[in-house]
């Protein structure tokens, strides 16, 4: 590991080399994992929403978590970030620290910060206030110090500068004094991501960052996510958009029915028979990341095929 000193996550070849040695099996061990998860199980009544034996997320790269609706991706996110409790004794550690039963806020303090599928911008606060809330270790948030402005004024200035830089990067600076509720849906997603970055996270977890975002904004969001990776932040995201997954992820983890069913680089995973079965039902042999899939004809063809299969099945 002599090349550790010269880590350049912006270099695709370096990232390819990082993941090259990893087994393409569910729960594969990885060099230098930032997040290690063991036996995370969550039942809702009789249904098992999540049952992950072992999963490692490698440091510095973009990992995508995909799976059909109801696969348990968001529940898994909630469990790992402390927003939900596992049904049985689970173990996971982040950056060497054990987080088994930690609260959501402690998880975030450890450096693993998430966004939400339904954006949680604080609508009746200004964009700037939203950003300022993201900063950690604010002495002015201590009740006793808060009433003495000189004790926190300097820090407040620094945080404001950082917030402005981030807002500028996300093209939200002209909106900084607007209420967050007046932003468009896509801008709120950007704001939520920028706010998460205010915490200076080691790993950022994005829950469907592209849902409800128009194509033009998608491009810039992709750019933002990639630049995060280039700066050394580990990214784990849940996404349905296969294009995006294929385009930016270095590693893909596929969940179905609560379990991890496949892992590997985007290309190999999307041609995995088990994954295709999980998404489209058995009998399909199409590459999920294939662009032609998104064309209307292809969709119609698939629909026709499914209908035919159904008819055969019923007959």
């Amino acid at each position: 590991m002599s090349e550790v000193a010269t880590r350049d996550y912006a270099d695709p070849a370096f990232r390819a080399q990082l993941v090259s040695g990893v087994d393409r099996t569910p729960g594969a061990g990885k060099p230098d994992p930032i997040l290690v998860v063991d036996s995370v199980v969550r039942h809702f009544g009789g249904m098992t929403a999540v049952d992950v034996d072992h999963l490692e997320v490698q440091r510095g790269i973009i990992t995508a978590l995909i799976g059909p609706n109801g696969a348990g991706k968001t529940t898994f996110f909630n469990l790992v970030t402390g927003f939900d409790r596992p049904s049985q004794g689970a173990h996971w550690s982040f950056d060497g620290k054990t987080l088994d039963k930690t609260s959501a806020s402690a998880v975030a303090q450890a450096g693993m910060v998430r966004t939400f599928q339904l954006t949680k911008a604080l609508n009746r606060m200004t964009v700037m206030d939203n950003m300022m809330l993201g900063a950690t270790e604010q002495s002015g948030e201590n009740l006793l110090k808060s009433i003495f402005k000189p004790l926190w004024h300097g820090q407040e200035r620094e945080i404001e500068e950082r917030a402005k830089d981030l807002l500028d990067r996300f093209k939200l600076l002209p909106k900084k004094d607007d209420y967050a509720g007046s932003l468009s849906g896509g801008q709120r997603k950007l704001l939520e991501m920028a706010r998460a970055l205010m915490t200076s996270p080691k790993m950022i977890m994005l829950d469907e960052p592209m849902a409800g975002v128009n194509p033009a904004l998608t491009q810039s969001l992709l750019g933002h996510i990639q630049s995060l990776r280039d700066e050394g932040t580990t990214v784990l995201f849940v996404e349905h958009d296969m294009h995006m997954v294929r385009h930016i992820s270095d590693w893909v983890v596929v969940m179905a029915e609560g379990r991890v069913i496949a892992e590997g680089p985007a290309d190999s995973v999307m041609s995995d028979q088990g994954v295709i079965d999980a998404y489209l039902g058995a009998h399909h042999d199409m590459d999920l990341g294939d662009d032609s899939l998104l064309e209307d004809d292809a969709v119609k063809d698939m629909a026709a095929e499914v209908a035919q299969e159904d008819a055969e099945g019923n007959a």
């Binding site: 970030t81 927003f83 609260s103 959501a104 806020s105 402690a106 998880v107 975030a108 303090q109 910060v113 998430r114 966004t115 939400f116 949680k120 911008a121 604080l122 609508n123 009746r124 606060m125 206030d129 300022m132 809330l133 993201g134 950690t136 604010q138 002015g140 948030e141 201590n142 009740l143 808060s146 009433i147 402005k149 926190w152 407040e156 500028d168 600076l173 002209p174 900084k176 004094d177 209420y179 509720g181 007046s182 939520e192 706010r195 998460a196 205010m198 915490t199």
Partner: protein, 374 residues
Amino acid sequence: MSVTEDLTTGSEKDEAQRESRNKLLYAGGGLVAFLVALAVLSHLPGTVGQISASMLRVAIQPQTAALVIAVIGLNIHFGYTGLLNMGQAGFMMLGAYGFSIAIWKGQPMVVGVLAGFAAAFVFALLLGIPTLKLRGDYLAIVTISAAEILRYTGRLAKLEDFTGAAQGIPGSQYRGPFSNLSFLGDGQWTFPGTKLTYYLTGTDDWWTRLVAWGLVALCSYLVFLLARSPWGRLLRGIREDEDAIRSLGKNVFAVKMQALVIGGLFGALGGIIFILPASMQPDAMGRNLTFFAWTALLLGGAATVFGPVLGSILFFSVRIFLQGVTNAVVPNSVMNTQQTEQFAWICIGVMLMLIVIFRPQGLVGDKRELRFNV
């Protein structure tokens, strides 16, 4: 490009600040003008003078100041943090009991005040630990019940030697040390240009008014300091979305607990002032008082510094106005004096509904804060 953008946003921010400062000036000026007008009108002969005089008396009475302080506490709970505290009267009662019982039992006044605060502090902790992790409604249910439990406990005949039971504790048993602090001297004094005449130091005196309104100013300033700080920002963030704040690594439970305790301590202080000019009676601090506090808060404007002051003063004086006018206009055969009082309360209830429907931000609240559905 970016320079011009900076300029526009900068001026917008200035504008927003100027706007809020202007609003405060208008509200403060309006309140002063209102009081001056009452003082002038009170010199008129007949009913108008009488109504104005009693409105003015009620506007500056110590109980109004006590309610203001309790509402300031409620504002921290509900206005800034979004905690539904339906038992502010319980906090007031604990402050009042702590104060009056300690002095009645021979302790110095400092011990009395501290006892009141300590009781409210423990009460807030006890209520907060089980409920603050749950949804907001649970706090409402628990606080209203707990406040009632306290009141009925205070009324228990078996506790007569300790709480004075339903009769309460006469003011003469605990007022002494407070009156002794007065530097105003003896005798009566009339506020120049008004018909407000009270003893300088006595039962219902200028000294109590001075201290009560001085404390209102102090508490308002304290809330101003808290609200503009990052801690205040954290409170508003929690009001908007707890989970978002949690995801940013903040200890939401601890901050909510701090808010509950601080608001409760303001309530306790309000309670102490509430009983200074009168006596300590548990039934004076029942559910009614909680709802008065809520009405005053919503009338003035939640999440504002000046709202509680404006709301409480208007709440009391508008009721007197309604009662006085009804008394004067409606013949006794239709509505007698007792009924006009009830009628005034009904009008207050209707007023509360109208405020919530047509002006949810209250008199001085920021409408933009309420424009977006969360």
